[in-house]
């Protein structure tokens, strides 16, 4: 026995020395149920779309008035069932609503109605296809350098301004605040040199098991007045249905956590059970992070209320580093004293640090018990099978279709369209338009996807259906495929027409601007002859041509480019190349 303990300690010591850490992440998603009315009252939920003033959508029950009772909104239950089906979980024939008690201003009943011991759905899984992030990471690093440079310049400017007394005072204040922030940050930020010691899992995909889905009420909102003297209460949100989706700790990197949330977001949007908008709180995530090395299992840290995909990955990153820093220098003998209950933290997205909200050790006793005002929620098998029949295609099926033999989209384009709200629907509309065109190219769909992703999705906030009429996109794709316009023209055509939804045919614009691609052999030959002739008339040009003939093949591009420019970018590059090479021979 003793030797085993020694061996274990030695193993632990070695682990801390070599510091090869793994991170484990479990996530709780809080998804506001997409339904016209609240979970237990008839009050409308349109406040979520800014369609109501504070406290305008509050039924008597939502405000906890004496004598009012809950009644389950069947539409919310259906939504939870659909979500359960989509996640391939088990929808239970009987589930139970329980009361979770705590006193707070945003909880008018003094308790939250939720599901504890018998949730509506348990089990299931979500398959997450991970994007190849190497390019994006490089871009992010470059972006970061740029930001730092910007900040440095800004600081320099500020320093100059210090001549002005008032400005100087202000800057001092800001400095003080910054110092304070960095002190606070010590609590959350780990030393950079541990970065390398965490081995994030890197796989093309992962499967995250779902523990349970429970239906519960959302709370109201407390907002402090500007002077901080009072709290204002808005009960519009109080009583709205929320699905809490809990996973097993199956994610092992910030990227997996972030893409799990994104995939879940898309799934919920696809099934239509949650609008998935993180910025307005319709979808929130709590992440549970722990780190592990041979012989060491850290305590679990929960970071609550993350409201962006980016915040999810940042929170995992920050917490993993913080935990490793906390545990890596611990002597094996001290490990038992490190055993701590889970703690709850809040993440500050602006500063990238987390702060302790509460330790679960001192957590309140919520005094759960079955809500005596609500009979058990009984769901007939028939109801489940009827809902299953009305399910839209699920993400896996959609991705398979997009990448299948017929449409043949690249994985990147398929994923981008899939994650974009309304992306697949827009793409499908373009395909419908493509099919109306006679003798359309077979790779039309994949070309269209490419144009949508590369041009139309680079436009920021605009949703796809606000950009261009699908017929217009289809027309452009077809003109490119038939070599009537060049890719460059196509790009110009698409980006310059954005917002003009009345345009359904690109041809008139091409005609008006004379943007047709030059495919005529004679015209191209004439153009090449003229450009090369002018070139050969100069000593420098003559040298280039003779260098080319002398074996400098790389110069070929430059000659083609010059002819291309002279054509106003309209020459068909595929036809142009042999012609230019042919013409060059004449200047040998």
């Amino acid at each position: 026995m003793a030797s085993a303990a020694v061996a274990k300690a030695a193993q632990a010591a070695q682990a801390t020395a070599t510091t090869s850490w793994r991170v484990k992440v479990g996530i709780e998603i809080h998804a506001r149920v997409l339904a016209r009315s609240k979970l237990f009252s008839g009050a409308s939920t349109s406040f979520a779309h800014d369609l109501a003033n504070p406290n305008e959508q509050v039924a008597l029950f939502d405000a906890g008035l004496p004598g009012t009772l809950p009644r389950v909104n069947a539409a919310c239950v259906d939504q939870a069932i659909r979500t359960g089906i989509a996640l391939r979980g088990t929808v239970h024939p009987t589930s139970i609503f329980e009361r979770k008690h705590y006193f707070y201003g945003d909880s008018p009943l003094g308790f939250q109605i939720t599901q504890q011991r018998h949730p509506i759905v348990s089990g299931g899984a979500l398959h997450v296809v991970l994007k190849d992030n190497s390019k994006e990471e490089e871009a992010a690093r470059a972006n970061k350098r740029k930001m730092e440079e910007k900040q440095r310049k800004k600081n320099e400017k500020k320093a100059k301004k210090k001549k002005n007394a008032k400005a100087a005072q202000q800057a001092e204040k800001e400095d003080a605040a910054a110092t304070q922030a960095s002190v606070d940050a010590d609590d959350g930020n780990a030393a950079d040199n541990t970065t390398a010691s965490i081995e994030y899992r890197s796989l093309p995909q992962c499967t995250v098991r779902i523990t349970r889905i429970q239906l519960e009420q959302d709370t109201g909102r407390m907002l402090p007045t500007l002077d901080g003297q009072k709290q204002l209460l808005d009960l519009n949100r109080a009583g709205t249905g929320v699905m809490e989706i809990v996973t097993e700790p199956d994610m092992e990197s910030p990227q997996e956590a972030a893409e799990f949330v994104q995939t879940m977001q898309t799934l919920l949007r696809t099934v239509g059970t949650c609008d998935g908008n993180m910025e307005d709180g319709s979808l929130r995530a709590d992440v549970n992070v722990s780190v592990h090395a041979p012989g060491i299992n850290s305590h679990r840290v929960e970071v609550k209320n993350l409201n962006s995909i980016r915040a999810v990955s940042r929170a995992v990153e920050v917490e993993a580093l913080r935990l490793v820093t906390e545990y890596r220098d611990v002597e094996p003998d001290d490990l038992p004293t490190m055993a701590r209950p889970a703690e709850t933290r809040a993440f500050d997205a602006l500063e990238g640090v987390s702060r302790v909200l509460r330790s679960k050790e001192g957590a309140a006793d919520y005094r759960f018990f079955p809500d005596p005002d609500l009979p058990p929620l009984v769901i007939a098998e028939e109801r489940i099978s009827n809902l299953a029949l009305t399910m839209p295609p699920l993400p896996e099926e959609i991705l398979a279709r997009l990448q299948g033999p017929e449409l043949a989209l690249s994985q990147d384009d398929a994923l981008v369209l899939f994650h974009e709200p309304g992306g697949v629907a827009y793409f499908d509309q373009v395909c419908v338009e493509l099919n109306k065109i006679p003798e359309v190219s077979k790779d039309g769909p994949s070309q269209a996807a490419n144009w949508i992703c590369s041009v139309l999705l680079g436009l920021g906030e605009m949703s796809l259906r606000e950009t261009l009429h699908p017929a217009f996109v289809a027309g452009v794709v077809d003109m490119v495929a038939k070599e009537e316009i060049s890719r460059l023209t196509a790009k110009k055509l698409l980006s310059e027409s954005v917002g003009d939804l009345a345009a359904v045919d690109p041809r008139p614009i091409v005609e008006a601007n004379a943007w047709f691609q030059i495919n005529d052999d004679a015209v191209l030959r004439e153009l090449a002859a003229s450009v090369l002739g002018q070139l050969a008339a100069t000593p420098k040009g003559r040298k280039l041509i003779s260098d080319f003939h002398g074996g400098k093949d790389a110069l070929k591009g430059s000659f083609i480019g010059q002819v291309m420019r002279a054509s106003g970018q309209r020459a068909n590059p595929r036809l142009l190349e042999p012609i230019v090479l042919d013409e060059l021979r004449r200047f040998q």
């Binding site: 004598g67 008018p108 005596p372």
Partner: protein, 509 residues
């Protein structure tokens, strides 16, 4: 020509009547003539009531509020005119009813006799109130009670104790004011609520009839919750026919209460005014031995014997009297207090003074929201309410949940099973309502907690099992004592109609 039920079909259209219409038909076919006779004299009868009501309010503290006499009389006059025109809305059209203070009435202070809600004006009507009003019955005032229904004597009210007429002993609780209002004939019937005996006990102490229907038969929408799984709206009156008619109006499913019974009322043999017809179906009446507790007074035990004899006489010689055993009844009282307190602690958690209700004056000592809540709740709740909230919070705590809450629930399950077995063999059980006579307020105040909780020992078993039960007065002739003995008739699950029709036979004698 008015139709057979004395109702106008049109005005009933929007009421979810279907469940009870059949029962209503059964009861009113007999009562129709009586109802009409009442209806055409509604104004004269109401005047008498209101005069009594004023006295009962002042002398017995039966009411927390009386409705303005003029507006009551205006309603009564309109009702009488309907009867005269043959357009009465229902058999209860024109009857005056009192409303227990924990049943919400629109634009009316509905406080459950608590300081916490002493400024709460309900913005809506309870389902039972709105159904009664739609049927033409007229609310005339709000009755005093034990705060939030917590008490057996009617002494725990923010508005002060109420007393039974005659001897100023306790009226019984918690629906004390409703029982007094009926006993003094200040109204024709009264709404009460019964969680562990709160309709039956005051009815017994005041010598009127108190009916606790099956749990879920009358919607709880608008009843200020004490213990949701036990709370039952009940009816008190001196006339079983009126109770049956008002019940017919109130009962039935309500989309605002998910715990309502949705199945139709049990059918029952048509009761007739002649005993011989009833005797054609011999009834079996059980005497549950577990109710013969040590605390039962000698007088009460003697009365019980007399009551059984009385019942046998009323129901006919064919009636069999059978001793029965309901073993789990022995554990009912502790299980009741565990469950009722647990639910109370949860149901009363909403009272924090933030949106409505009593809020403590601001103090600079308040550093947290919780301190403000604590101050408001400490001031707003009376001692008994605070005690039950604290006990309930303990029951639901992680450490006590299994040993207290789950065990009490197991007792409740056992009770349901025991009773359902018993009702395969008998039609009714007869028991006392209270273990002894009504104490004086001084005697009641001297009782320790367990003693006072023991007052409910006869009534909580049917509350836990959700069984329809009724307190029926029994005028003793064998002793010279002034006190009125009452007995409890308990029927099987959902046998409300059968209970009421049998009660009619018993009270007709």
């Amino acid at each position: 020509m008015q139709n057979r039920h004395g109702t106008s079909e049109e005005s009933m259209e929007n009421q979810p009547r279907t469940v009870t219409s059949r029962f209503l038909a059964l009861m009113t076919s007999v009562a129709n003539a009586a109802a009409k006779a009442r209806g055409v004299r509604a104004v004269e009868r109401a005047r008498k009531c209101l005069a009594e009501a004023t006295v009962a309010k002042v002398e017995l503290n039966a009411f927390t509020e009386l409705r303005d006499e003029k507006s009551v009389m205006a309603d009564v006059e309109a009702a009488q005119a309907r009867w005269e025109r043959g357009e009465a809305r229902s058999p209860v059209d024109g009857l005056l009813f009192a409303v227990k203070d924990n049943i919400c009435q629109a634009q009316t202070r509905s406080s459950a006799a608590s300081r916490m809600l002493s400024n709460f004006v309900a913005p809506y009507d309870a389902t039972c109130v709105s159904r009664l009003q739609a049927a033409g019955a007229i609310p005339m005032g709000r009755t005093n009670q034990d705060e939030f229904g917590m008490g057996s004597f009617g002494l725990n009210s923010y508005y002060g104790p109420s007393y039974r007429p005659g001897d100023h002993r306790v009226a019984g609780g918690s629906s004390s004011g409703s029982a007094i209002a009926v006993a003094t004939e200040a109204c024709h019937f009264a709404l009460g609520s019964d969680t562990g005996g709160s309709v039956r006990l005051p009815a017994a102490f005041c010598g009127v009839m108190g009916f606790k229907p099956s749990y879920g038969r009358i919607s709880r929408h608008g009843l200020i919750s004490y213990a949701s799984s036990l709370d039952t709206i009940g009816l008190l009156s001196g006339d079983v026919g009126i109770i049956a008619e008002a019940f017919g109006v109130c009962a039935g499913p309500d989309s605002n209460d998910s715990t309502c019974i949705t199945s139709p009322l049990e059918s029952c043999p048509l009761p007739n005014e002649t005993q011989s017809d009833a005797a054609a179906i011999p009834l079996r009446v059980g005497i549950p031995v577990e109710y013969n507790v040590a605390e039962l007074s000698e007088d009460a035990r003697a009365a019980w014997h007399a009551q059984v004899e009385h019942v046998k006489i009323c129901l006919g010689p064919e009636t069999s009297i059978v001793p029965m055993s309901v073993p789990s009844v022995r554990d009912a009282l502790p299980a009741y207090y565990v469950l009722a307190c647990a639910e109370a602690s949860s149901n009363l958690a909403r009272y924090d003074g933030v949106q409505y209700g009593h809020r403590a004056a601001w103090s600079d000592d308040f550093e947290t929201l919780h301190q403000e809540y604590t101050a408001s709740r400490t001031e707003g709740f009376g001692a008994e309410v605070q005690r039950r909230i604290l006990m309930g919070a303990h029951v639901l705590s992680a450490e006590a949940f299994d040993t207290l809450y789950l065990r009490a629930n197991a007792v409740r399950d056992a009770l349901r099973e025991d009773f359902s077995a018993v009702f395969h063999h008998v039609d009714f059980l007869i028991t006392p309502v209270a273990p002894g006579p009504a104490p004086t307020p001084e005697e009641a105040a001297q009782q320790d907690l367990v003693q006072s909780y023991l007052t409910d020992v006869m009534t909580v078993p049917s509350s836990l099992a959700g069984l329809p039960s009724m307190a029926l007065p029994f005028a003793r002739t064998s002793t010279s004592q002034e006190d009125v003995g009452s007995y409890q008739l308990i029927a099987g699950p959902r046998q409300d109609a059968k209970l009421l029709s049998t009660a009619r036979l018993l009270s007709a004698a």
